[in-house]
Amino acid sequence: MSWETVIGLEIHVQLDTNSKIFSGASTAYGSDQNTNTSLIDLGYPGVLPVLNKEAVMMAIKFGLAVDAKISQRSIFARKNYFYPDLPKGYQISQYELPIVESGSLEIELSDGKRKDIGITRAHLEEDAGKSIHDKFIDQTAIDLNRAGTPLLEIVSEPDIRSAEEASSYMQKIHQLVRYLKISDGNMQEGSFRCDANVSVRPVGQIEFGTRAEVKNINSFRFVENAINYEVERQIDRLENGDEIIQETRLYDPDRDETRPMRSKEEANDYRYFPDPDLLPLEIDQETIDKIRESLPELFDAKVTRYVEDLKIKQSDAEELSRNMQIAEYFEETLEGFGKDAQLVSNWILSEVMAVLNRENIEISAFQIEPMRLASLISRIEDNTISSKIAKDLFNQMLTNDETVDEIIKKQGLEQITDEDSINQYVTDVLIEFSEQKDQYLAGKEQVLGFLVGQVMKRSKGKANPKLVNELIVRKINADTER
């Protein structure tokens, strides 16, 4: 029997607003328990919700970025169930008329193929608080700081057919929300949470099989593992003649398995109805258009522009664009030095990235501002310094705040370009390394590199390598002509 996997992902993204979706309390992460809770978040008697404008704008941004239809009229609904981290006994969410309706996102697979994954809808809702089970012995501790944080729930169509596709889709959404600056996507802090609805069916069957919902997936690797496990589990059961129970399962990364979860809501009847404390949300076309105009250039468009307009290699363009902030850093550097985008790209992808990785920091913490990097690169390009010297200078600039020109002057790093000086070194080197000279004459051309290196060494790296190369060849040829 051949089986096909059918997956739909539900991703909850915490929106990066200052205050909560329905109250003016702070959304800051990591505060002391229950210190970011207003009476509204605590569900006190008599309190009422008022909608955060920024949360709405962010939802619209997302919708436009995935070519979705923005509902000009959407409704907030109450999802009713009891749980101690849900203070009102209901969650304000959206049910029948969500703010974002059908859209799609293109993903790329490892074999280079591209595929469109449909997005059924995205809607706004409030996050619940946190239950902490290991704080007290017989009791569960409740921290409601998170209660009321705005969430955007993004639901994909069941178009995903493999764990790899799921991971790719999840990564794409992750990149997108960070690009749009609507979320920091921090999975460790719970800003980006993924649930997978997984089912299998015999190849060729049209009806979907019974699905299980897998929760607690907080990395791209885990989504693949969880799905792989679940698919195998389901196929095993079906091949044994057992049914798949529609249930919620928890992924356990330590054991790499999924287990049925003791449901928090016994009945799945949430008794949705429009929240009478909130009115229909109406968005006019003008607002949507304004937001569309303010959308940042997204990944694919950026890559294309880098390749076509800036003439950068495809793989480099992708590498730079992967992280919005690195792309921004790159573009800012280009503003200071725009002559050779590929050169700038090289510097960022090798030297800058090396520092970021070594020190485990984000580009926002990187010590060299774009303009200073630009001036460094322009000094290479105009031959003031050699690229070798530039690399040393770069390292110095991590801790030295002086301008590039100041450092060059102070340390006398200017490139040596006058032929007489270089010829001095060349002569010395050719005498010392006459063996290599002979090898070169015999046809071993690569030895030239060695000789160039030796001249560079004597000049303390300051000689212009190209010129050195030229002069060595000239001298050797001149000598042999005698």
Partner: protein, 479 residues
Amino acid sequence: MKRHTVKEIQSMIKSKSASAEEIYELYNKRIRQMNDSINAFISIEGDEFDLDTKQADSEVRGVPYALKDIFCSEGDQTTCGSKMLSSFISPYDATVVKNLREKGSIILGKTNMDEFAMGSSNETSFYGDVSNPWDLERTPGGSSGGSAAAVAAGMAPIALGTDTGGSIRQPAALTGITGLKPTYGRCSRFGMIAFASSLDQAGILSISAEDAAIFLEHMAGFDQKDSTSSMETVPKYTDFLSNDLSGKVVGLPKEFFDGSLDTRFQELVTDSIHEYEKLGLKFKDISLPNIKYSVPTYYVVAPAECSSNLARYDGVRFGHRSTEGNDLDAFYKQTRKEGFGQEVKRRIITGTYVLSAGYYDAYYLKAQKVRQLINQDFLNAFEEVDVIMGPTTQQSAFKLGEKVDDPVSMYMNDIYTISSNLSGVPAISHPIGFVDELPFGLQIIAPHFKEHDLLNITHRYQMATDWHLRTPEICRGID
């Protein structure tokens, strides 16, 4: 005893014939003397009398009032008539309370009410029944029974209440006072413990329409904390009180005059109509064809909303908390079983049922559609007439205990009043006479935001008659 009106208190304070402290003391004393027999108050302000001089030019500075215990008042016990909140001290003021506080008005105490505002007789309160000052064995109506009794008995010059299905107008009618339910959205609901969010509205119980006009000016208005609060400007209602009534047309819905009303009550209504004709009003027969569905519609919508609104009472962050129950499930069940009374439980169950999968379309959605039809009936009627009149209730105050075992019969009490909550239109009830020494009220309904018409019409009637000034026997011998 003299039941001072707010207007009278204003001039006493202005002319300095009495100070705000003296007036406060007077009412305090009356409350202590009379509350044992009437049980209008759940708690009495013990706070030090404190009047800020910055409210010097406020019209309600120094005017004391009774506050239905459904309104959160900072630092005060706020029980909503329920065991569930018997230990709850509110950390904040409801917006309408804050508005009045800033204007220098003072809370005398929190009045008794049907538990979570669910009831029409004030017999479901955890704090015991309230007695009607006109006959202590009878109900004052509900759910604002305590507020109504307090004003009727002169224990407070004016009181705040809430009206979801008639809870201000019906008790006003049964206790011989004036009760106003403003347009939905006129007054902020922030801090008003929610029963049925799309129907609840804060309002006033007073001796006269003039008093209600004065207080409404200071209570009403847009509140950014309430998304359902209206931005409509608040007019100076007192400016409209003495307007001439000639030319105004009153609709008499045939559904309100179908002969089911006892003849003696019908006579009072007819007399009041004659009085109004003398004042210049013209009367016309109209029809509100869907009005008969207002009771079943209400009893689907209100319980649905309340079942959700009351889900927050779980003992975790405030309120009653059961000490039994070892696991979470048992904990919730016990807490809510112990904390809520019968009527509340009944409505939560009904509400849960009508919202449940498979029933939502047939009940809740259907009810909201019928609601639209009822609203349409009003809009159509108001094309032909300026206001609508009819009796507020089908009968005068019934005996305590008479209807407790028959909730459906209790629900039918709301038949004249419910439709205005469903539509959101403002309505007022004022006394028009007595049958067997028990008061009876007339209801006037106006289009959205036309409270000034209601107050104007009622004021003119009250200038020409004195039903609203009649004082119950129980007040005799009290200062």
